[in-house]
């Protein structure tokens, strides 16, 4: 993998230019095309940005200006983030021809910091999936083992970093979509707390859960990108204005909660062993491991697959071939508006259709209170569990996923089995908390394993500080 800091060292040291670095990375993208990490590669636009970055470096006396911490750095962005003038397909036939008329705030901040955007990455269609297999452009392969899934939904962003195509990328996380692929591919992924990064320009899946975040080869690289994209945005009414940093602590005296529910039946023994070894190293450095319980967290998957699908069915109603989306040939000869909508919306893939149907079901008359109302109540119980736990501990640690990356097609007939893979990542989304996935010692099979650290609201700094410790001692 290539790192952000190594690029800056190399260019500032005179061993390379941003242009030559970009060409090298574009070469890696081309030679790794079988991984299917990218939906669009914007080489010409990137070359122009890299040339500008070289000029800016020369004008600033060969030093990286403080206002441009990402100067010349090749970055990939998930193809559900708007970037003016580029296609934003959400990996769907529905949006295959859609060109963004504006730029997402997070992407705009990357560009303002000097980043060179090299393209848009593959994902599960409309970010609905945990494997990266549900893309109209084909599955993303895991660079660690190409017969296995990269994890989703930010599959392309994770694979692009893991394959050394870019040092950092943007993803989005609704139920684990940054952390799961980060874990499966052996990279770092941060899901910031809800409201920490603007969602303006992120194509909505489940608006109360979606969050944009950075993915990268190292914790330091992820932190650099996070510092650029975080902060209030008046264009996102859910964006938080106040920054409430939690006091930095080294591992000494750090109270790390170990929730029994995340280490129960169903956890792969090899994943458990890798995670426990990482926790033992934290303990050696003075951290105190505190057994805790989150008694309602086992309801998370059920709760999520009511709330997320309900919001999705509402959010995706705009893709009707009138306001957004594409029109099919059959729709052009439709005899009614109803038929016209149905024909156009047949462009959705099967996973998206499944979730829209489920969302319509849980919101339908007579079922709304029993499903959606109940799930909202249970969501609050889960939030209260975390609130109570964070009165006793500074962080909560767990595996990211119950098992390492699985074979492509292994869970294709069982969506529920696929959904249960999100068991450890969904709770942080339901509670709106920040969570970090850090690679630890690989599984006995050699596949990557991720450790998840969760913090109370505003705890991103603490997560990154402890994440760096784990990285150093890896």
């Amino acid at each position: 993998m290539i790192t952000l800091s190594s690029i800056h060292e190399s260019v500032v040291g005179g061993a390379a230019s941003f242009e030559s670095t970009l060409e090298k990375q574009l070469g890696t993208i081309t030679s790794g095309a079988r991984i299917n990490a990218f939906i669009s590669v914007t080489a010409d636009r990137a070359r122009e940005s890299a040339r500008r970055a070289d000029l800016e470096l020369a004008q600033s006396g060969g030093r990286i200006p403080a206002s441009k911490p990402l100067l010349g750095i090749p970055v990939a962005i998930k193809d559900n983030l708007q970037w003016a003038g580029s296609r934003t397909t959400c990996a769907s036939k529905m949006l295959q021809e859609y060109v963004s008329p504006f730029t997402a705030t997070a992407v705009m901040r990357l560009e303002a910091a000097g980043a060179v955007i090299v393209g848009k990455t593959n994902l599960d269609e409309f970010a609905m999936g945990g494997s990266g297999e549900h893309s109209a452009f084909g599955p993303t392969l895991n660079p660690a083992d190409e017969s296995r899934v990269a994890g989703g939904s930010s599959s392309g962003s994770a694979a692009a970093v893991a394959a050394g195509m870019v040092p950092v990328a943007l993803g989005s996380d609704t139920g684990g979509s940054i952390r799961l692929p980060a874990s499966f591919c052996g990279i770092v992924g941060l899901k910031p707390g809800y409201g920490r990064v603007s969602r303006f320009g992120l194509v909505a899946f489940a608006s109360s859960l979606d969050q944009v975040g950075p993915m990268g080869a190292t914790v330091s690289d992820v932190e650099k990108v996070y510092r650029v994209i975080e902060g209030h945005d008046p264009l996102d009414s859910t964006s938080i204005a106040v920054r409430a940093p939690i006091e930095h602590k080294g591992p000494a005296g750090l109270r790390v909660g170990i929730p029994a529910e995340f280490f129960a039946e169903g956890l792969d023994p090899g994943v458990r062993a890798s995670v426990e070894r990482a926790l033992a190293r934290l303990k050696e450095q003075g951290a105190v491991l505190v057994p805790i319980s989150l008694p309602n967290v086992h309801h998370s998957v059920a709760c999520y697959y009511v709330i997320a699908v309900a919001e999705a069915s509402s959010n995706l109603s705009r893709f009707d071939g009138v306001r957004f989306g594409s029109r099919t040939d059959a729709a052009r000869s439709a005899s009614s508006l109803e038929e016209f909508y149905c024909e156009n919306r047949s462009l959705f893939g099967r996973e998206v259709k499944r979730r829209i149907l489920l969302g319509t079901f849980v919101l339908s008359s007579g079922y709304h209170d029993a499903y959606y109302g109940r799930a909202c109540q249970v969501r609050e119980l889960i939030r209260q569990d975390f609130s109570s736990a964070f009165s006793k501990v500074d962080l909560i640690a767990s595996p990211v996923a119950p098992a390492p990356a699985f074979k492509i097609g292994e869970h294709s007939q069982s969506p529920l089995q696929m959904y249960l893979n999100d068991l450890y990542t969904i709770p942080a989304n339901l509670a709106g908390l920040p969570a970090l996935s850090v690679p630890v010692e690989p599984h006995s099979s050699g596949l990557p394993v991720g450790l998840q650290l969760m913090a109370a609201s505003g705890g991103e700094d603490l997560l990154l500080a402890v994440g760096r410790t784990l990285e150093v001692t890896r």
């Binding site: 008046p234 998957v301 059920a302 009138v322 499944r354 149907l357 489920l358 109540q377």
Partner: protein
């Protein structure tokens, strides 16, 4: 619980075309997910205040000022991005007979 008639009804409500093959595939899959969702009945939600999340007071309201808009330009840009448009309007199939 969803049955095959239920799938058809949901598809109509969702404005989605579901083929007979898809319906046959979806039926047991959706039933399994809904069966799992029923586990929420076991949670003791009597102490839950219900929906309500986020950091209270941390998301400021914008100033009560008129937005600077150029309605004609904005409308024409939005409409021009739609899959079908004509003379600055969304184009849809004729639904009222001439």
């Amino acid at each position: 619980m969803i049955d095959s008639e239920g799938i058809k009804k949901l598809a109509k409500l969702s404005r989605i075309r579901v083929s007979p093959e898809e319906a046959a595939e979806f039926l047991p899959q959706l039933a399994a997910v809904i069966g799992h969702v029923h586990s929420l009945e076991k949670a003791d939600a009597s102490a839950s205040p219900g929906a309500g999340y986020g950091l209270q007071g941390a998301t400021p309201l914008r100033g009560d000022e008129p937005a600077v808009l150029t309605p004609v330009e904005a409308t024409s840009e939005i409409v021009s991005l739609s899959p079908g448009h004509m003379n600055g309007y969304f184009e849809v199939p004729q639904v009222v007979p001439q």
